[in-house]
Amino acid sequence: MKNLITAALAATLLLGTSLSASALERGGTLTYGRYADSLFLDPVLNDANVDIWILSNLYDTLLLPTDDGKGVQPGLASEYKMSADNTSVILTLRDGIKFSDGSPITPADVAWSLKRASKKDNGIWGFMIESIDDVTTEGDKTVTIKLKHPDPAILAALTVFNTGIMPQKAFEASAGATEAEKAKSFGEHPVGSGAFVLKSWDRGSSLKLVRNEYYWGKGEDGKALPYLDGIDFELIPDDATRILKLNSGELDGAELIPYSRVAELKSAANLDMQLFPSTRVQYLTMNVRPQVGGKDNPLANPKVRQAMNYAINKPAIIQIVTHGVGTQQTSYMSTATPLHTGDKPLYPYDIAKAKALMKEAGFEKGFSTSILVLAGNQDQIGISTAVQQMWSQLGIKLDLQQVDNPTLTKQYRDGTFLMRNAAWTDDIADPSEITSYFVNSKTIEALHSGWKSEEADALFEASQKEMDPKKRAEQYAKMQEIYNSTGPTVPLFETPYPVALNKRVHGFLQIPLGNNIFAKTWKDK
């Protein structure tokens, strides 16, 4: 019964309609506990994940992702269409939209923002809109994006944080000689287009946002969004402390609840433990180069990789690490990613088959190898300890090496690692991002594994320009088939985003792409 209610509540939140007994209330400030502080809140020049999940509250995009993270809906642009030859996007801006300082959002601002975002070597996110050739304006409402080639993902790309619209004049008037310096001084007193605007930032402690008086969105009461007067993000890196602060009522919400505490918080009377569907997948990456560090690498043998996949009892890992919150993967991409295929869990646990494959591969006696674990990360430690035990049945001796993030990244990028733990979340409602990193050998050598499939590479290149949805789906089906059977990863599980909220908070949403959406959030007085 309780689960039913929770499910119903989750469903109502997802639909964005309020069926709950309490009536909508405006005002108040929400305090939200984060695990890490942002670094730099510029849509284009930010470098890290800690920034991007809250950026959409500060800078609105032309289009917005739908609540299920799979589609596109109007944002600052009320209408959008592709040209007949698929080489340009024509967008019409919403009437009367304004920046947080009250100045109008003009097509010129839009064109400038998009050109800035797509300029080569300006930030690291440009690859998602590399197809943009030029942006032109007509009158006071129309913007045309000209493309270098047809791009099936361009509409989805216009919902991503790096295409957020910024005020050209205010930005250019900021002090500084270079783009980076201007971005820095603009960031001190930013003018935004999102539902909220930055009020103060006490680095390492708190980040305060206040409502943007001029935001275009309308609430259920017909008045302007957002409902809240402001949001205080508080930085509380320790999981246990974050939860204590939530329990004591000092926080209204807290992100990244450890899976081990989900059940406990679900039964807390004053809390609403949410598990938002996500695009997050947890996996192990294997280096498939024949030699690593001058030594023969058994992982180069696809049969060995298959054997290792079969030898893992995924339901057991899901129980041990996620305490039942996770689900088995059916493809390398999450089920929430568009064009995902597959309905059966990959590599069901089969130790006999695993042993047979090891024998076929000539490794009946097993071998020694190692795995990189992000130091202190309980999930990765749990996963690695469990697979260490499971692979010992194949005679594989796995050495766990906990290292800090830069060390891990270095060995990863240099291709000197043997195996590593990793997780992935999509930023865009399109399978091309994850596929370019996982499958395409030309982006980062298929997760720096050295894995390469000519066929998959060709399919990927074709799919990047394929405008026929059916054909593109077929290409993706084929790529998933190749990768899931011979690829360099051990898919483990998908997990939702665990967010705990006080019961007085309503309407908060974290979409599968990770964006925290506070525009329709409100709280009881």
């Binding site: 999981d239 081990s260 505490r261 057991a316 309980q378 260490q388 090496q401 800090d404």
Partner: protein, 281 residues
Amino acid sequence: MSALAKTARSMLRGKPMPRSLITGGSILLVSLIMAVWPTLFAPYDPNEFDYNALLAAPSLAHPFGTDSFGRDVLSRVIHAYTVDMQIAVFATVGPFVFGTLVGAFVGYVGGFWEALFGRLVDATVTFPFLVLVIAIVSVLGPGLGNMYVAVGIVGWVFYARLVASEIKVQKRLDYADAGRVMGYTPWRIVFRHLLPNAITPAIVYWMTDMALAILLGSSLGYLGLGAQPPTAEWGVQIADGKNFMNTAWWISVFPGVAIVLTGLGFSLAGDGVAEILRVRR
């Protein structure tokens, strides 16, 4: 053995053995036995999973319960004796010996050596320890051996400084002058006369330091830089149990008790040794 007993008796000069040494020594003896033969006491393989008993509460089958992998906590606590006693000794004995020697030398000769030593101490102690550990572990790779290296580089300074400042006081006392008047070599004065009196704080600190080393292992475990899984180690066990403090307290409480007990053993033994050295004077 008898020679040792003889020395002890002569040191005690007929007075009874201090109670704290007896208690502390017994605790340490038991710990040592556990550390050498853990399999005699542990009911299970410490790394064996039991999927049917994940996070099981203490029961007859598992007196200390099980952890999130279904591993028997009692067996892990017992097997951790091997690792933790090793940490306590290996991380401190080198610094203690080296630091004491350097401290005695510097404290006695003074002058240039003392000034040089002073700068070295300043530089070592002022450098953030954590940066050093992370740097060493990052360069050499994670694991206990490299942790000893990091701890050793810094640790000796504490002993050296404690001993040096005591020696400086002692060497001005009458009996040191008496030694010099008698024509003893500086070696003899330092090691036979000054050091036994000056070493007390260092020994007391050493015993505390062994407990601190185990604790440091746990802090490093929290950061993932200590003993690597699946090795059972109290500090890592406590760090593992952190997320289960409300739901499965036994994961972290029992290793915590083991740390407290062992630490108590070291401290009591340390106090006892100090007592003997005092009696002797």
